[in-house]
């Protein structure tokens, strides 16, 4: 009975328009963070802790620390390394993954080795890469690449490999050129897997950006946060962590935007299947 009630209510509520549902979804999205902030603020006021400053202190530190020259000295270089690292990882992952996925003997030759390299936790590569290539921006991008390339690469291999046999026969029977097959069949059909890989890569890249900057570096978010920590600038340190979190959210938003465009057909099919 009660389920019927809620059902009829939700049906009644729907017609008044999308604006209301957008408003309520914004409430849902921001409600919990807001609540957490309030609880945190009250808690920090009631029992002040040295290592856990209140939200207001952190927001103040955030503005003082990151708005101004530090934005150009630390945030931008970090963002640049992250951006280049992500773009190179995706490009290398898709190109190499497509080749490996299409060539069977290559795949059989490489797959065990790739699984091994993927299993190595990328942070341990940081000291080695620093030793070999020196502590430059290129090395840091290389660190990001070394970790973020795997999800894209392995998912692309799998996606390319599982191209539907009838779709492939269709392409063959209409004598599509190899380039056309790649452009109109293989890559689009692998794109859901590729995008799943990219999503994982983004978070790995962010982690590795920070870690790569914690080793002998003099700029970047990772370096700055470690610096604040070793100098007991606790609110500043937290503000750096907050900035990293925001960057993660920004990445997710950009990803979501791109994904909706690239996989419009895929979500469309899912919707039809669910209906």
């Amino acid at each position: 009975m009660s389920s019927m009630m809620t059902r009829s209510i939700s049906v009644l509520r729907k017609p008044p328009g999308r604006s209301r549902s957008i408003l309520s979804s914004i409430w849902f999205a921001l409600g919990l963070p807001f609540l957490l902030l309030v609880v945190w603020g009250i808690w920090a006021t009631i029992s002040p802790q040295k290592f856990f400053p209140g939200p207001i202190a952190i927001i103040q530190a955030f503005i003082e620390t990151w708005v101004g020259p530090a934005f150009f000295a630390d945030v931008l270089p970090s963002l640049a390394r992250l951006g280049v690292g992500i773009v190179v990882s995706i490009a290398v992952g898709i190109v190499a993954g497509t080749v490996i996925g299409l060539v069977r003997w290559l795949r059989e030759l490489l797959e065990p080795t790739l699984e091994f390299f993927r299993a190595v936790p990328p942070p341990v590569l940081v000291p080695i890469l620093m030793l070999i290539f020196g502590p430059g921006d290129a090395t840091r991008v290389l660190v990001i690449l070394a970790g973020a390339v795997w999800p894209v690469l392995l998912n692309t291999i799998e996606g390319v490999r599982s191209t539907d046999s009838i779709m492939t026969e269709t392409a063959r029977s209409y004598a599509l050129t190899p380039v056309q097959r790649l452009r109109y069949l293989v890559l689009p059909s692998a794109s859901p897997r590729i995008m799943a890989g990219v999503r994982q890569s983004l978070s790995v890249a962010l982690i590795l950006m920070v870690i790569s900057e914690m080793f002998n570096n003099s700029s970047g978010l990772g370096y700055r946060i470690t610096y604040f920590q070793t100098n007991y600038l606790i609110a500043e340190m937290w503000s750096g962590i907050l900035l990293l979190g925001l960057m993660g959210v920004l990445l997710a938003v950009i990803f979501g935007f791109v994904e909706r465009r690239v996989l419009r057909w895929y979500h469309g099919i899912k919707e039809v299947e669910r209906a």
Partner: protein, 266 residues
Amino acid sequence: MPETLLKVENLKKVYESSTGSVEAIGDISFEMQRGELVCIVGPSGCGKTTLLKCIAGLLAPTSGVIELDGKPVTHPPENMALVFQEYGRSLYPWLTVRGNVELPLKHKKLSKSERAQLVDDALLAVGLDHAGNSYPWQLSGGMQQRVAIARAVAYQPEVLIMDEPFAAVDAQTRADLEDLVRQLHRDRGMSLLFVTHDIDESVYLGERVIVLSKSPTWVQEDLPIDLAPERDQITTRALPRFTELRTHVYEQIQRAKRGEAVRPTV
């Protein structure tokens, strides 16, 4: 003036595997004239799809000759188009209906307007001129198969090969699609090789019905269908001659299933 378009001679296909070899096609020979509509029927599992894949150049025969327009088929020929049973897996869901129909034309040497003209014309022919900008998955099964047919029509093949194209659509849609095939054959003089497991469909559509034996397959009968070229779902199917023909084919298939028919030794 009849002219041989497709020639299949002593076709044999043996699948080799680790567990032993399976002879799917024993010895198939037949010819098809330009402009003909030939149906192929046979008991299930008789290697119809294997035969089509060999003719389409997607599968290499173990021995025998396939010639299209006098040229041996070794890879998918440019002047042949294929319509598969699984329309959902043959159309590309990331392309619109237009995109799907246009794709095989992209490597033909055509100007943009010629290409657009072919696409429009093909979509009109299958009654989907309004759906060009939809995606295949937004359409019903019957409409999706129409898109696949439009794609084949726009490609302007010498011969259109259809592999049980209507097996997965409902009966009413099926009747409409059968009439569409008849219409394409009549209006455009298209040569069609139509594989089906539906006996009525083969008699209703075909000018000739080739009955295959069970595997290893050979041609059990090559039956001319002497019905008038104008066919109608109601009146044609009610003709005594239609009933005679379908009964005959039905009996042949039953014999084929039981393996009673004896392969003539040449």
